[in-house]
Amino acid sequence: MSRGYETFEHTADIGIRAWGSEFSEVFEEAAKALFNVMVDLNTVSVREHLTLELTAESGEELFLKWLKELLFIFDTKHLLLSEFKIRDLGPQTLQAQVGGEPLDNAKHELGREVKAITLHQFKLIQEQSRYFTEVILDI
């Protein structure tokens, strides 16, 4: 598969792995992987949209900032996100549209609380024509 995501094991926490043939795809797939740790994405409808604009010093910093921003949105707005579209991705800027719906206990079974995006064994690499990332989430 040219793009996708999965989770992997870590003693007390959980890791997410995402890949894509474009750099923007790895952003989108990692975002899905992050929310997939919290909830079954199939149960999240897209009823609200948000536009995000982020800047950072490097592509790597931008990637981390993106994931942290999404976690912040969930934690403060209690909005579950399932759709992620990177509209524009420069070396230091990102523009995206994300969609989802507010957390509803009757509809969503939440599994894990993600405390933080960590740098523990963090990887964001390009190998041939593929981008690949591994991030460990603090649970």
């Binding site: 007390a12 912040f72 209690h78 957390l103 609380e113 933080a116 603090d138």
Partner: protein, 486 residues
């Protein structure tokens, strides 16, 4: 998982192991691990021992880089790691030595209720606790702090919420540091942290956090047990939670910032996650002020959770919490850094003690203990998994002399979360526990599977080591009968 590095260990006695300084020329002190042969087998499976050696590189570290028997792999520092740094020797503060959940901790309450009085109402009690105490991912609490109250919560901690009516003064005397660290600065905290913490006061959270109704099932020290008002068959209540999103964000903010201070202060560490700053530097001071704010938030949070739990007991048993004897025995922090006086090469020094997944265990006579416990030593509350046991121990002089007055913090994980879910496929952990007489309620089935007893080391093994090593002594053991998980 990465291949493990073979770490040379020198056996000192049945409970003490040393990583010699010559393992790595960058180590400033040796590593010392409190463990026995049995637990060492699991400790060796991940990279926790390498992390003990890495921590020994921190500028200003004194005596040892320490590890408790419940040690496992963390970020930079191992969970179960302890390090003290000396401000006069270029000592540093490292956010990774405290962890994301700043002042995650445990509190233990006694009750006058016996198991036979609670048992007929157990299901109602657990269901009411579950409904009344916000727990699980993304759940808001009813206890809101207004913008004008923010600085008060973070500078006054548990004392502020007691003034608002959530508990009594006496609770504060039975809380480590009186439920408040001095030197918290509301201005050192980012707006993002305040936003994440806005509706999370009085919420349990998820992961390994819990609220448990327990029964005392074994007494090791009858004299001390009597002083706490503990008898076999009596019911206790334990609460495990921390500083929630507020603390996670503070840790995250400073980890990012301190990646740059390593270069600025020419600090060499073998892992970027040991990012740190000198204790006296502006960055170090600001982190300490923000970390204290999060610690105070956490004490306020556990105080609110206790208040909510007392209300539930009052409702279910139709008696006041005072009449039910629901007094706080003690509240301990197990993810924190504090300035404390300890002896280094025979001289008393003021040190910054990092405890990450480790509990303070001060000896009898220490001036920081409340008067009522001063002759006994500090109560140390150690939670286990939801199917086995938890403990009350007491701090010792030996802990003060050898581990900066520190002991273990819990069972420590054995299985990864994914493995735990895999192993519970086709089973109902709730039903299995109910057969053992334990009622468990949680928001998600996955969460309960991940937290199942088999996912943890046996806390009895961990506590046997700290008791055997003399860095805490057992008073009573509890077993769970009702568990609320996020």
């Amino acid at each position: 998982m990465q291949a493990t590095v073979d770490i040379p260990l020198k056996k000192i006695d049945d409970y003490r192991w040393e990583i010699p300084r010559n393992f790595d020329p960058g180590m400033r002190v040796p590593g010392r691990i409190f463990c026995d042969e049995k637990l060492l087998e699991t400790v060796r499976k991940d990279q926790a021992l390498l992390q003990v050696a890495n921590v020994a590189h921190l500028p200003g570290i004194v005596n040892y880089s320490l590890a408790m028997p419940d040690i496992h792999w963390g970020y930079g520092f191992p969970i179960g790691g302890v390090a003290a740094t000396d401000p006069d020797q270029g000592g540093v503060i490292s956010p990774g030595g405290i962890g994301f959940d700043i002042n995650c901790g445990v509190r233990l309450l006694r009750t006058n209720l016996t198991f036979s009085e609670v048992q007929p109402k157990l299901k109602t009690l657990v269901a009411t606790l579950f409904n009344q105490i916000p727990c699980g991912v993304g759940q808001s609490g009813d206890i809101r702090i207004s913008n004008s109250e923010r600085p008060k919560v973070v500078t006054q901690g548990a004392g502020f919420v007691v003034k608002k009516g959530y508990g009594v003064e006496e609770d504060l005397a039975h809380t480590e540091a009186g439920g408040c660290l001095e030197g918290a600065d509301p201005e050192a905290v980012s707006e993002r942290a305040y936003q994440r913490g806005r509706d999370q006061l009085g919420t349990l959270g998820s992961g390994n956090h819990f609220l448990e109704v327990q029964v005392i099932d074994q007494i090791f020290d009858s004299k001390a047990a009597e002083r706490f008002g503990f008898r076999e068959g009596e019911v206790t209540l334990m609460i495990h939670s921390g500083s929630r999103g507020f603390g996670y964000q503070i840790c995250d903010d400073f980890l990012s910032e301190m990646r740059h201070t390593l270069t600025k202060y020419h600090i060499k560490v073998p892992d970027v996650q040991l990012a740190c700053a000198p204790l006296g530097s502006p960055e170090g001071k600001r982190y300490l002020s923000a970390m204290r704010a999060a610690a105070n938030y956490a004490w306020a949070n556990r105080q609110c959770l206790m208040h909510l739990a007392r209300k539930v007991f009052e409702h279910v048993f139709n008696r006041s919490w005072q009449d039910l004897g629901m007094y706080l025995i003690y509240d301990v922090a197990h993810n924190i850094a504090k300035f404390e006086k300890h002896r280094v090469s025979g001289k008393e020094k003021l040190l910054c003690v990092h405890r990450k997944g480790a509990t303070r265990a001060f000896p009898p006579g220490h001036s920081e203990l409340p008067q009522v416990y001063r002759d006994l030593g500090q109560p140390v509350v150690i939670p286990g998994d939801m199917g086995r046991n938890s403990y009350l121990l007491l701090g010792t002089q030996r802990a003060f002399d050898e581990t900066f007055g520190t002991t273990c913090h819990g069972a420590g994980r054995l299985m990864s979360r994914t493995q735990a879910v895999r192993e519970s496929r086709g089973r109902s952990i709730e039903q299995e526990l109910e057969k053992q007489g334990i009622i468990v309620m949680g928001r998600g089935r996955k969460g309960i599977a991940e937290e199942q007893p088999a996912a943890y080391k046996d806390v009895n093994d961990v506590v046997r080591v700290v008791d055997g090593a003399g860095i805490a002594k057992r008073v009573v053991r509890m077993r769970p009968i009702g568990v609320i998980k996020g």
